[in-house]
Symmetry: C2
């Protein structure tokens, strides 16, 4: 319930997570046979109001949140209230989305396809840079070095599919207190943009705002990753990996605080130094 005693709106959802790892047989360099855990990968075809939109390849750990976050990050729906139901069916590898008003301008939005540098989905419908000028990230938010180190420590200790099976990217949404960070959500997927989108979907479902959060990713900071974090309203973007020139330029443009190569007690602060307290 919210402050007014009302139950927040929630679409009708299945709970259809798939097992994340499977064992396959392999032979190592000593000729020894080993059973090795590998990450799942499944096609999931999105139908919106009975119309086929596209097929995502996914780990399948959070298919409902992935679907909602995909529609959110592609700006195909404006708010959670536009979504009536999200029904995943692994028998047919499909997810049926029912919307309140239909995706009226879907034709226009899907007319331009951009294949981006991100792992995973790659494609962004519409103009990649569209709307980015309208993003306002909070100027008064701050992140301390102590909080960053606490986050990196918690990420390091987090139980992950990556540690078991590799071949996935992880994303986390964390709180940002003066010396402490708490991981609120941690999603892994075979495509790193699926992981980001699943976080975006869960943020809508759990009514989490981005302004007071930190976004962490194991993946590279390409243009698409920076744009998605900005659209989610998150002022702090932290990655274990490096960045691209365009990721850097967009982070500067939107005034995001972006930190790369962050692991243990090492990092590089690339943009938005005004919000960071060393």
């Amino acid at each position: 319930m919210d402050a007014g005693g009302r139950v927040p709106y929630r679409p009708s959802l299945t709970q259809a997570a798939r097992p994340s790892t499977f064992e396959v047989a392999a032979v190592d360099e000593h000729g020894e046979r080993r059973d090795v855990p590998v990450a799942g990968e499944h096609p999931l075809t999105l139908y919106v109001d009975k119309r086929e939109l596209l097929t995502l390849m996914t780990l399948g750990a959070a298919p409902e949140a992935l679907t909602i976050g995909y529609l959110r990050n592609q700006r195909l729906v404006e708010s959670l209230e536009d979504i009536v139901a999200v029904q995943v069916d692994w028998e047919t590898n499909s997810v049926a989305v029912t919307t309140r008003g239909g995706l009226a301008d879907l034709e226009a939005k899907t007319a331009r396809r951009t294949k981006t540098s991100g792992c995973g989905q790659g494609t962004v419908f519409g103009d990649l840079m569209e709307d980015i000028d309208s993003v306002k990230l909070p100027a008064d938010a701050t992140l301390t070095q102590a909080t960053l180190y606490d986050l990196l420590d918690k990420v390091r200790l987090h139980e992950t599919i990556y540690k078991q099976a590799g071949a996935v990217h992880g994303c986390a949404l964390a709180t940002n207190a003066p010396r402490h960070a708490e991981i609120l959500m941690f999603v892994e997927d075979v495509g790193r943009h699926n992981a980001v989108d699943a976080i975006a979907g869960r943020m809508w479902l759990e009514r989490e705002d981005g302004a007071d959060k930190i976004f962490y990713t194991t993946g590279r900071l390409t243009s698409e990753m920076v744009i998605k974090a900005a659209q989610m309203g998150i002022p702090f973007l932290v990655s274990r990996s490096g960045l691209t020139q365009m990721g850097y330029e967009i982070a500067q443009k939107v005034g995001m605080t972006m930190i790369g190569r962050a692991t243990n007690k090492h990092y590089l602060l690339f943009t938005g130094a005004g919000r960071f307290r060393a």
Copy 2:
């Protein structure tokens, strides 16, 4: 010239590689300012016979080969002879492809979009699994452990953008002699499927067949990566990274010899053990 004294056909091509790295300013954990090399990332919009197809985000190191390999791997053109010209223009971030006969069935092929688990482009037009049944990989090719180790050593010593700037994936095409491997092509890109496609484009341009080669990638062995290597007719697929369940299943189905977690003198042989000599 080929054996008959004829000059092999070659489309009219620009040579429009972009610089791969750029320096940006960063501040490290000690508060020291550092200039850090980062990988380039540029939009490149493909026009085929003056019709806009899509926009790729690319490092820009091999835009002509990337364009040709993209059209090849998406099965939008049948052979190099179908391509008259590939003209890259970075002033407008575009590449104009002129074909001999037009892409007659482009509508049908672009109707179904699959977003895959790969880094980079992600999308495969048409049915991901279409044609995979028709792939025949040579049964009598063999790879020795000594050749694998030689390849891994050469990859390790290869000068790369990754070592300078991170944030890119690399792919290599190598020869396969009894105890020796030679890297014929090495391409890096911000999207690993761009790197694969650029190799596919160069293989057409340089008339290289896949049957007697090894394909190496720094990236994960997802369904799309395995399908692309199979389409290129390469029986050996080697990766530093892990694999997904669907990558494993498709490699088994097409009878590919697939080796993951390959670094230094370690590896895991997952499929196609009949072609491997330890």
